[in-house]
């Protein structure tokens, strides 16, 4: 049986969801038999390959670059998963949303021409930090900040075994 091709992405989040993924510890060995990570901040592959089965995306969508990558991933993957609260609700990065974008940038970088104000070496900051489903169809959600490794395990193992993930009760709690 060929292995399930999995990608992970890291947008505006703290990488806590990825750390939680690594917290699967010895269960990673079991996963290794069933899936292959073909694109991820954890591996050194620059371009998103074609034919991805499952994409786990951490973080909210904050910049033009992230939005492009998100759309590219949507085209290239079968199942797109909002991985953690930032991807699911906007979470901490969305705390800037009540404040106008330019005001945020000037507060952080001072006057002049702050990075992110316009498209340049640094991608432009979007007006608001939004969850993935504000832009693309999301197939499943793994809430949690971060989702603990048991929750991630339950999601992945039920997805691999039953073809459909099954998170229920406390397993969907935000925060």
């Amino acid at each position: 049986m060929s292995k399930v091709r999995v990608a992970t992405m890291w947008f505006s989040g703290c990488s806590g969801c990825h750390m939680s993924f690594l917290d699967l510890d010895e269960r990673l060995l079991e996963l290794k038999e069933a899936l292959e990570i073909v694109y991820s901040p954890l591996v050194d592959i620059k371009e998103i390959p074609e034919g991805i089965d499952v994409a786990l995306i951490e973080g909210s969508v904050n910049t033009t670059e992230q939005l492009e990558l998100l759309r590219e991933m949507r085209r290239k993957c079968k199942i797109l998963v909002a991985f953690g609260d930032c991807a699911t609700t906007g979470n901490i990065p969305s705390m800037r949303n009540p404040i106008p974008r330019d005001e945020v940038l000037r507060e952080v970088y001072g006057d002049g021409n702050p990075p992110g104000m316009e498209e340049g070496e640094v991608p432009a900051l979007l007006p608001q930090a939004l969850p993935l489903h504000a832009y693309v169809r999301v197939d499943y959600y793994i809430p949690g900040c971060p989702p603990d490794s048991d929750r991630i395990w339950k999601f992945l193992s039920t997805l691999l075994k039953e073809g459909k993930p099954r998170l229920e009760g406390e397993e969907i709690r935000f925060g």
Partner: protein, 233 residues
């Protein structure tokens, strides 16, 4: 005694009881948020809506509707579940509820409701209003970002403490709870600093100062305990 139907089962109830009270007596759980035992019911959050089949399927708030003879009440079905989920989503998008950052995470009735209603994401667009905090009180703070306008603080303050410090100000989407004639809370001449509003608050909107993320536990049942101990005339 009154006889009515609850989810197709015949049950007996006392005159004057609400649908919610009867449902609880019979072990039927109806989600609530603005309701708190010991306070007068308000029926404002709409999470406890139930369907009365022989009233043409009318939806009524279970906490504020008294039972009537022959009433045919349904507490859960596809339509009610859908409406409850929509109501809950509207509560989540109205202000800035960021669980990971909140003192009440893990002890929050709004967060619990998302678990209970199976809400793993919010389909409505978030509003992201710009709202302030008032940290002028010596012991307590209020963060309007987390307020669901249930009015439990307002009722605890007036009905139980008798201070009448908290009230609503503004209209429609601008409405906020406010102490005295608009605050700041620390300048209030009526507030007794009893903390009942904080205990009654279902979210992290009202909190004790100095409490960290996820560390704010509350005892909303204190409201009922206090009222039950009072001598009755």
């Amino acid at each position: 005694m009154i006889t009515l139907k609850l989810n197709g089962r015949e049950v007996r109830a006392q005159e004057g009881q609400t649908i919610l009270e009867v449902a609880r007596e019979h072990g039927v759980r109806i989600p609530t948020l603005c309701y708190l035992e010991g306070l007068s019911p308000r029926g404002s959050c709409r999470l406890c809506l139930v369907e009365v089949r022989n009233w043409g399927g009318k939806l009524v708030p279970a906490c504020a509707t008294q039972v009537e003879e022959g009433m045919d009440v349904v507490t859960h079905n596809e339509r009610i579940n859908r409406i409850r989920r929509l109501v809950l989503e509207m509560l989540f998008v109205e202000r800035n509820h960021i669980c990971a950052f909140c003192v009440s995470s893990g002890h929050c009735e709004l967060q619990d409701l998302a678990v209970e209603l199976g809400m793993d994401h919010v389909t409505l667009p978030y509003r992201y209003p710009g709202l302030a905090m008032d940290l002028s009180h010596e012991d307590y703070g209020i963060d309007h970002n987390r307020c669901v306008l249930c009015g439990r603080c307002v009722r605890a303050c007036s009905e139980v403490e008798g201070a009448f410090t908290w009230g609503f100000q503004g209209r429609g989407i601008q409405i906020q709870v406010a102490p005295d004639l608009g605050g700041p809370w620390g300048d209030s001449e009526t507030c007794t600093s009893c903390g009942k509003c904080v205990q009654a608050c279902p979210t992290g909107a009202l909190f004790e100062k100095g409490v960290g993320t996820a560390a704010q536990t509350k005892r909303p049942e204190v409201i009922l305990e206090v009222t039950e101990r009072r001598p009755r005339v």
